[in-house]
């Protein structure tokens, strides 16, 4: 079907045109958030869910950070008695699990939930109810972990929960089960969100935003979401096998009965290594958004940047054995994984050169978001270099299980993800709240975090080379580790101050920050084409796009989409490749059922730690909730019928 742009009767260029005003009022009414307490639990707007998701993930970041500081206090001097070994084991396990499963991956998805529908120019995320479910199940998973921790049943086998230590023989009690079920919660959440994001990006882009024009951040999210689809089921399956070994005496990891503990390591790292890129790739998306805007020019090397994201994703699945060089994997296999681990430096290096070229050819404005991005480049390059070193088998065998590895992955993860994330907070805070974060505190925030980070983690390289092993709760005097540990602890305090300054900045700016306006950075992507904060329906008219930098390439008379119903939650679905309009789709209304489904699913997951019968019995309320979710309501049904009355697919076929 051809849809020619034509001059319509819609009048008015400004916000004040009377027709726009009445459309706005209709949209306000249709998309308003449901009132009351039940309404709060029924909300399915991607921005509300996204905000809750971001705040929740940040709270878990703080909790994980508090645990980190407790560890640093314990290690500040030799033979410290501040934490005992049992509590220390729980703390480092929960620190790692929190940062990986409850902070890093969720916060990246949370940002995408908020930003992607705005960036592609649609009214809500695809499957908004599933999105709400994804949030609740994530929240309950996190609460579940900390509730058990409070009762001294926190997992204590490390964030990778290696067998046989985590198996039934060496970890009686429920601690290892808590870890395994935490995985189930968080993976379910990550997976459903990945599916929504793929559907949103492929099918709901504004007309004109063909695949070769979507912002690089959006590319980074689609690549990440595909990685999630292939990586997360592996760890979910592995943790299910672990729970089966522990609860119903299967023997997957029991060598006495033909099982193999190394199977666990293979399954875990087949997920665990891509996981690093699942965290890192969205962060590079932030960087590719921020650098061009603050360099005042389009990004250098759009195609190489996209290709490097895609190739990073592919190569990222071929590295997992480099976590297992200290096991008996065959040497030929080790060579392959060494080569692949070094190869991944190529696409990542290419990205860094594209960013440098963008800065080089532009006129950089050194606001806080750009500072964090530059800090990222510095820190991440160091982490990348130690990564190349660790990819080499002989060096890895020396450094394995020492603080050198701890230093490496904190440089990669904090450098590669947390710095860009803070840059992204500064960059998008005005869009989300309508107010800018303070620049002065922002600079303090950056320099404290940057200095604190390097002070904390750089000495750990040296500690590792001096032989300090990971996961020990204390060490003897005279090992030569004392001063470096004290330095790392002091750095941790500075880093904490940096985070505190950020929270103070947020607190002050929410009340007294400078009003942002629609587009304070004069940025190029579609989220800046609407109000700050955006209305519930995102855009008065679904926009169209004429180039890679939607707002910079906009024609003076850039057309908008009209003819979408404002009195029901209708949005436009477009074709995958070229984003030509395909059909109108009525998105679901708010519903309490996703919340109830999450509650019943939580009961099933927690119950199954105690008896296998919780699975068949717990499945009954889950089924009831799902039927409630699926079954059409009177309102939804009537709205759908009225949408369909306009035109049937069969009639369209007949016309063409």
């Amino acid at each position: 079907m051809s849809l020619e742009t034509r001059v319509a009767t819609t009048d008015g260029r400004g916000e004040t045109a009377p027709r726009d005003q009445s459309e706005r009022e209709t949209l306000e009414k249709t998309w308003q958030e449901p009132p009351g307490i039940v309404g709060w639990f029924s909300n399915v707007n991607h921005k509300s869910i996204g905000r809750r998701f971001i705040v929740t993930a940040f709270v878990f970041f703080l909790l994980g950070g508090i645990l980190a500081i407790l560890m640093r206090v314990q290690l500040a001097r030799p033979e410290n008695r501040f934490l005992g070994p049992d509590l220390y084991d729980q703390i480092f396990t929960i620190h790692g699990s929190t940062m990986m499963f409850l902070f890093a991956v969720p916060v990246m998805e949370a940002m995408a939930i908020y930003l992607i529908p705005l960036m592609v120019g649609t009214r809500n995320i695809a499957f908004p109810r599933l999105n709400a479910f994804g949030y609740w199940i994530y929240l309950f998973g996190g609460l579940f972990l900390y509730a058990f921790f409070l009762f001294n049943v926190g997992p204590d086998n490390g964030w990778f929960s290696y067998v046989p230590l985590a198996g039934p023989e060496y970890s009686p009690g429920k601690r290892a089960d808590v870890w395994a079920q935490l995985i189930t919660f968080t993976e379910v959440s990550a997976l459903v969100v990945a599916v929504e994001l793929i559907a949103t990006i492929f099918k709901m882009r504004a007309p004109g935003m063909s695949l070769n024009r979507i912002p690089i951040y959006v590319w980074s999210i689609v690549v990440t979401s595909f990685m999630i689809l292939f990586a997360m089921p592996t760890v979910a399956t592995a943790s299910a096998c672990l729970i089966l070994d522990r609860l119903v005496s299967t023997h997957f990891f029991n060598p006495a009965e033909g099982g193999d503990p190394l199977l666990w390591q293979h399954l875990f790292w087949f997920f665990g290594h891509p996981e690093v890129y699942i965290i890192f790739i969205p962060a590079t998306g932030f960087v590719s958004s921020i650098i061009p805007v603050f360099s005042r020019r389009p990004v250098f090397g759009y195609v190489p940047l996209v290709l490097s994201l895609v190739s990073t994703a592919f190569i990222g699945f071929g590295l997992w054995v480099h976590h297992m060089f200290a096991t008996d994997v065959p040497q030929l296999g080790q060579n392959f994984f060494t080569a692949a681990s070094m190869m991944i430096a190529i696409p990542n290096g290419m990205q860094i050169f594209c960013w440098i070229a963008t800065l080089w050819g532009g006129r950089p404005v050194f606001k806080t978001p750009l500072l964090f991005v530059l800090g990222f480049v510095f820190v991440f390059v160091i982490g990348g270099l130690t990564g190349v070193m660790l990819a080499s088998v002989p060096l890895d065998l020396q450094a394995h299980d020492t603080y050198f590895v701890v230093a490496h992955f904190h440089y990669v993860l904090i450098g590669g993800a947390v710095f860009p994330l803070f840059g992204a907070f500064y960059y998008w805070f005005p869009k989300i709240t309508g107010r800018l974060l303070g620049e002065r505190l922002g600079k303090w925030n950056f320099w404290l975090m940057f200095a604190g980070f390097n002070l904390t983690f750089f000495p750990m390289h040296q500690l590792g080379l001096k032989g300090m092993p990971r996961r020990v709760y204390t060490y003897l005097p005279g090992t030569g580790w004392e001063n470096l540990n004290l330095l790392a602890t002091a750095g941790g305090v500075v880093l904490t101050l940096g985070v505190l300054v950020f929270m103070i900045n947020v607190f002050i700016s929410l009340r007294r920050g400078e009003p942002a306006g629609d587009n304070p950075w004069n940025a190029d992507t579609l989220e800046w084409a609407t109000n700050s904060p955006p209305p519930n329906y995102n855009f008065l008219h679904v926009p169209t796009v004429a180039g890679r930098n939607a707002l910079w390439d906009k024609a003076e008379d850039q057309p908008v989409v009209t003819g979408l119903r404002g009195d029901i939650r209708e949005t436009l679905v477009t074709y995958v490749l070229d984003a030509e309009p395909d059909h109108r789709e009525k998105l679901p209304n708010p519903s309490i059922w996703p919340f109830l489904t999450a509650v019943t699913t939580t009961a099933l997951f927690v119950g199954s730690m105690f008896t296998p019968w919780a699975v068949p019995i717990g499945a009954v309320p889950v089924f009831v909730a799902l039927v409630g979710w699926f079954w059409p309501t009177k309102k939804g049904h009537e709205e759908q019928l009225s949408a369909e009355k306009q035109i049937k697919p069969s009639e369209v076929e007949a016309q063409s």
């Binding site: 695809a126 023997h251 003819g563 395909d582 789709e585």
Partner: protein, 200 residues
């Protein structure tokens, strides 16, 4: 007042079938996820195979009869699924109802036969690692059979009782799409559980 150029979409349909619909993409995502779960379990099966001399290690190999019969029933169930999928795309309510019910009859048949498959494995999940992996493979696939059966029942009830909308036909069509996956995923699982012990 100057007119603003626009793209009028009011004459577009309110839903589309196949890859045009959002729900197809959602379904594809679920298929990729669950396909990965099956692939991981099959890979684990062969990984565990490497480290023992005899396979199955200490028990007789599975009896082929129930699993093979069930494979035929599963493959046959593609026919009613295909028919109601095509009928849904033509929005032929009568035909959709009839063939949904036929599909449910097939589903009941192979779930019942599946109950006999577990004893035919000739081992228990806690006998050894071999028993663990074949029970888990069969169990995971059976979970898909049961959940897809329940999905189909709910959808069928809705198609009889209403309230009905045109868009429900998209759901019906995608239900068949998922069913195809559950059946086709069974073929490699069947080969692994039932034939591989005789072959290697």
């Amino acid at each position: 007042v100057k007119d603003r150029p626009n793209i009028d979409v009011s004459n577009l349909p309110a839903y589309g079938f196949g890859h045009r619909s959002l729900i197809w993409w959602g379904m594809l995502g679920i298929i990729v996820i669950e396909g990965t779960v099956f692939a991981v379990l099959i890979a684990s099966y062969f990984y565990l195979r490497i480290y023992v001399r005899d396979w199955p290690p200490s028990t007789p190999p599975p009896n082929l009869i129930y699993g093979s019969v069930n494979t035929l029933v599963l493959l046959a169930s593609l026919v009613p699924n295909y028919i109601y999928k095509k009928a849904a795309e033509r929005e032929d309510l009568r035909k959709v109802r009839i063939w949904l019910v036929v599909s449910i009859a097939f589903a009941i048949a192979f779930i019942v036969i599946r109950v006999f498959e577990f004893p035919a494995l000739n081992c228990n999940w806690d006998s050894n690692a071999y028993g663990s992996i074949v029970w888990t493979l069969l169990g995971t696939h059976s979970t898909h059979l049961v959940t897809d059966f329940l999905d189909t029942v709910v959808l069928t009830v809705l198609m009889f009782t209403g309230p009905l909308e045109g868009k429900r036909f998209v759901d019906v069509s995608e239900n068949a799409f998922y069913w195809y996956f559950v059946v086709l995923a069974w073929i490699p699982i069947y080969v692994v559980i039932y034939l591989v012990p005789y072959l290697i």
